[in-house]
Amino acid sequence: MVSRIGVYVDGENLVVPIQQELDEEVVKQLQSDVLERISLKHLTGLVIDLSGTSVLDTFLARKLFDTCRMARLIGARPIISGMSAGMAISLIDLDFNPGDVETAVTLEDGLLRLRDTPKFDLIAQSDDDFDAEGDSFENLVKGSDVIDGDTEPKADDPD
């Protein structure tokens, strides 16, 4: 029987606190649970917190980091938090490459960072905004005309 790791939805984010020794089966189960939950609930963030574990080999670490990359593919911003100094040193000794996955010192820190993620705001995309953009674009064009007009006579003067 495979023990499962709980995944918790917090607003727009999925929080995964890992508080047990991991093995291949558990991580595999976790990976599918995480991806399923993110796509079902359209979540935009994922934090995997490792502060409850002390041992993690390169294989499992790669699986967890890969899970993060997969989560990014389905629209969630992934963060790994709470890795201990000893764990980091042993992973680096084994030539583990963290790659482009974001990291945070504490779970709280990771969640704070997710809160700052810019979200699509449908209200901001109203007609007024498009008008305003159009105006500024016209101004820009007008401005460049004036500059052109100014430079041409100056260029003629020395002649």
Binding site: I80, S81, G82, M83, S84, A85, M87, A88, I89, L91, I92, F96, N97, P98, T103, A104, V105, T106, D109, G110
Partner: protein, 132 residues
């Protein structure tokens, strides 16, 4: 513990600002020394919940591929625990050696002087320096 061991064990990690740490390295950075620096750094990062650590290598006389690899390892370990390393004090000569040796510093942030590194660290922490 021998006298020699005592002096090597001392790696001062300064708290430069809230959530910004500073280490000044000097002498030859062999793998032993690199490991000590790494341990001291990571412990301090976790204890103080820091976001950025500035590693000044102005007083490191030569950077060969071994030293560079150790620096890369330090940066990766820092990343794993959730912080970012900025390496400062890279002179023109060192930059030349690094490129000529074909060492890829990948995504490591580097600056030539400490002032730039501090400014960058403030930026990363969303601090702003304002003249009075």
């Amino acid at each position: 513990m021998s006298k020699n061991g005592m002096s090597l064990d001392m790696i001062p990690v300064n708290e430069l600002w809230d959530r910004i740490l500073f280490i000044g390295l000097f002498g030859i950075i062999d793998s032993n020394r690199a490991k000590q620096v790494m341990e001291a750094m990571l412990d301090k990062i976790i204890a103080s919940n820091s976001k950025v650590i500035i590693l000044d290598i102005l007083s490191v006389p030569t950077v060969d591929s071994a030293v560079a690899n150790n620096l890369i390892k330090i940066c990766k370990a820092t990343k794993l625990v959730g912080a970012e390393t900025i390496i400062s004090g890279i002179s023109g000569e060192i930059a030349q050696t690094i490129v000529e040796l074909g060492i890829e510093l990948e995504t490591i942030t580097t600056t030539s002087n400490l002032a730039d590194a501090v400014e960058l660290a403030f930026q990363r922490c969303n601090y702003e320096l304002v003249e009075k």
